[in-house]
Symmetry: C2
């Protein structure tokens, strides 16, 4: 404290001090006089009688106060001030602790950290690459890595049995709410493993981080469900298992329905997710939902392509005609009985229906399930509900391109039990044996959000070639894109697999935050710009000339 | 072992096995029969009687044997095989241990690891940037960071007192022997520190790495010399202090010499390193050097711009005319006496001379000193000789551009003792007061190679503006390039400073290797290409179109 009694000169100097000044004081620490003690402040019991004051740096008045709510754009523009907020300090330091904890666990588990190139070749994740023009090699471009996938596989071929890296990855995608052009991945790969080994190891890494950084022991082992079960029960491959609601499949029941909407959907055939489904979502106690609420849900499922949202309010027994619904008149008694039995609907419940292509029904009802669970509080109070989703399909049918695409990536191994289907003629048969092939891929999901994913990879050169063939990637393209990996598999590649955790998202969820931008020191906006540094920016023409490129942009040409 | 007595079927199967096959065996471990024991093998005392053999993967015959010496291009093309060599395994695993050790030390010292952006704005290191065209913002470009310099300073402004990061940096420079387009930096920054604090902390980090990874305790504290002393004694700012040879300055002595070469150099005036010097390098016992050796040294100094290499073989007392030299006839007795006294040359020695601009003399003799020290074995057997070089000049005079440039970077703080010179008119005065201003910059040198460097930064906005003015960076340019840092300094920036260690180089030196490519898993060639993945490569036109660029390269246009 600066008191005129102690030192009049310093008391005078202290009048210059303003908020956020950086000062040095020399002085004597003393107990505060009883009446001025403030136990609510960390330093509330003491005072310093200053004998010398040095102003190390002044500060202009801040554009906003540190305890003031301001828009995100302002926060990002003055990120160096925003990062002073106690909340942001906590986030950044927490992230640091998570990283150290994970690295320590991996190091102690015999993993070697190996840095892989940033200036590299297009990787096969299938998202858009960020390109870097080469000055030394005119007309050629590096790509920033979407992941170190191929390099970590090469490291397995090289005999580094356990690799990890906490590394930056890049995807030039249209930014959805919670994506960044660059993001951080906890990347790992192991040799001579099966899915269980990778999942167990990952659980150890995650559990250690929760324990070290949050002081919470997460339940162990983490429950697992198959992709097929997740889609069936939850409609999504990243289910929020805190919500006890489940979908019920009525497709078989509705195949002979005289209700055209259900009948058509139930009998719709098609490859991949183009075939039809009729599913129900029962909400216990939902009969009290208002018309307005139901209208809002109908609008919500429309986002995911649903053409409407049929429902039945279960106001009593169906046989007593107590069901209240615009569609009930189209349903036969058998169908009503089947619905009641299959959904287990009780008086007071509501049942929603989806009838369309599988892709639409699952996503619409799956997301409605989450929305309703959260809004109506039909959710457990577990703060962190993890689940592994396993047995993803190997291939997905791209109806537009009329070809198979890899669900995970082209290097994911098929489940050995299903491998014989790879040789079965697929053609236009209704069986589509290829669709039945499961992969050895697994995703880690936390509170309905995918926080990691991985797979066992193909280590046999013959199988890898077959897989590329199924993806319509011809030899020439394969050789050009990842010939080096195909070569490497020829020289004694061990069986291997791995996983990558999305660090930004995991840390965000651990802190119960909504946006990954809260745990990234200098994030970009949804337009992929940094409002602090004003990146990207125009550059001088000579710089472009050296790189053998020219901009074709009209409005803002480089000067 | 597969023996026909144990199991004839498996013995038969084993005939398929070839080098580098990946197999699984089930069997019984047993002691080898006495006569087949081989204590030179790790597994030389045991054998496994195989009961089941599974071939997990076959291998084609390798393009080279793992214990075979092959050219670097072949090694890089088959890097996944090259990395199997025990030597490369050791290097990569050693690097891992160094990284974990450093991080642990920094974490335990209260440092927070913060990730800074890779897609950012041009940083002011002055090297050429790698650019990344933006798809979302036509005509605009990100730059890959040359270092996280500005972001780490912002973090200090944000109150993260101790920051670190082991991070990738990028410089699009013409690649000298031991440079890579991307390299790894151990980057740190601290608030409320003086040079001593940063140097002490760094010594702790390095000592810990040597101790943990190499089991060697490095002498502590590391000796320090000033830049001025290093240039004076060693001619280089990264002196190899294992070599006991020193340069002797004869400039004053030669100002009145009738030997024109010395006289002109001694009287040459100019700014920066354009002024003249006459220096000597005495090699004890060097009188026995052959004509051929001296010719080779003359050619060597020519690389650094020296027009010749005068020498005197000290075959006895100068006064008895025992000096053997083409130049001795041009020297007066006083000059000879002065040379003998200043260099302390004894019978049997040789003295080499440099007379030219300071830049040429220092570099030529400085490098000759190292070459001769290593070739003639005039070098201590300390494997690791560290030295701090301190008090670098703040500014250097760029004679071509006729302006001052920052020796370290524009954010390096001047030594407070010299700060008054910043206001002195510089103009064309022979005094050049600005050249006297020392900075608070320091470099860490190991065996004559710079492995790290840093400085205390400017935290006062006024001083920063003055500094930019001295560098002829006008307000508009400053605002455009790093206006966000200048703004940040206005809001209570604490005094701060830091350092960055070059991890690739440090690990290379720790292992006694010659090239950083030996400690990088997937390095690039000197043409900045990756021969393994064939990056960079041409890309499809639509990809460029999306990025609003066009290549101007003639021979190899993208298809």
């Amino acid at each position: 404290m600066f008191s005129p009694e102690h030192d009049a000169a310093i008391h005078g100097e202290a009048h210059q001090l303003r908020s956020e000044y950086v000062i040095r004081i020399d002085g004597v620490v003393a107990a505060r006089p009883k009446e001025t003690e403030n136990p609510n402040l960390p330093t509330g019991m003491i005072e310093i009688n200053v004998t010398k004051l040095t102003i190390l740096n002044a500060s202009l008045p801040l554009p906003f106060q540190l305890d003031e709510q301001v828009g995100e754009n302002t926060r990002l523009q003055y990120r160096y001030l925003d990062l002073r907020r106690p909340q942001m300090q906590r986030n950044i330091m927490f992230r640091h602790r998570v990283m150290q904890s994970m690295r320590r666990h991996l190091d102690e588990s015999g993993f070697i950290e190996v840095e892989t190139p940033m200036l590299t070749r297009s990787t096969p994740e299938g998202a858009r690459d960020y390109l870097v023009p080469s000055r030394v090699n005119p007309g050629q471009f590096y790509a920033l890595p979407q992941s170190p996938q191929l390099f970590k596989q090469l490291l397995m071929v090289s005999g580094y049995d356990r690799y990890f890296q906490i590394t930056r990855c890049f995807r030039d995608e249209d930014l959805r709410a919670d994506r960044q052009p660059e993001f951080t991945q906890v990347d790992l790969e192991m040799s001579f493993v099966e899915p269980d080994d990778v999942m167990n190891l990952t659980e150890g890494v995650v559990a250690r981080a929760f324990s070290d950084a949050l002081g919470i022991e997460i339940p162990h082992p983490i429950p697992r469900i198959t992709y097929a079960e997740a889609m069936d029960k939850y409609g999504l491959d990243a289910p929020d298992v805190r919500i006890p609601l489940e979908l019920t499949d009525l497709t078989e029941i509705m195949k002979g329905s005289s209700f055209k909407v259900f009948n058509q959907a139930a009998n719709l055939t098609g490859r991949g997710n183009e075939h039809g489904l009729v599913k129900a979502l029962k909400i216990p106690g939902g009969a009290s939902l208002t018309r307005k609420q139901i209208d809002e849900f109908t609008e919500f499922v429309g986002i995911y392509g649903a053409k409407g949202l049929a429902y039945i309010k279960i106001n009593g027994d169906w046989s007593e005609e107590k069901w209240q619904s615009p569609i009930v008149k189209f349903l036969s008694d058998d169908e009503k009985r089947a619905i009641a039995e299959a959904t287990g609907a009780q008086t007071g419940d509501i049942v929603f229906f989806g009838a369309d292509k599988a892709s639409v029904v699952n996503e619409a009802l799956g997301r409605l399930r989450v929305k309703i669970g959260k809004e109506l509080g039909i959710i457990s109070d577990t703060p962190f509900a993890f689940v592994w989703v396993t047995d993803f399909p190997l291939l997905d049918w791209d109806n537009e391109a009329r070809r198979n695409v890899a669900v995970h990536h082209p290097f994911t191994a098929p489940n050995p039990e299903d491998i014989q289907h790879l040789d079965q003629a697929d053609g236009d048969s209704v069986e589509h044996p290829l669709e039945k092939v499961r992969s050895l891929a697994y995703d880690l999901v936390l509170n309905g959000i995918e926080v990691g994913g991985g797979s066992i990879r193909i280590h046999s050169p013959e199988l890898q070639k077959k897989m590329l063939g199924l993806l319509d990637i011809d030899d020439e393209e394969a050789e050009a894109k990842f010939g080096f990996l195909l070569s490497a598999l020829n020289y004694g590649a061990p069986p291997h697999g791995g996983l990558a955790l999305g660090l930004d998202r995991l840390v965000t969820l651990m802190l119960g935050l909504d946006s990954i931008r809260e745990v990234i020191a200098f994030p970009k906006t949804q337009k992929a710009t940094c409002v602090l540094t004003e990146a990207p920016s125009t550059v001088d023409l000579p710089q472009l000339r050296e790189l053998h490129i020219r901009t074709t942009a009209k409005p803002k040409t480089a000067e």
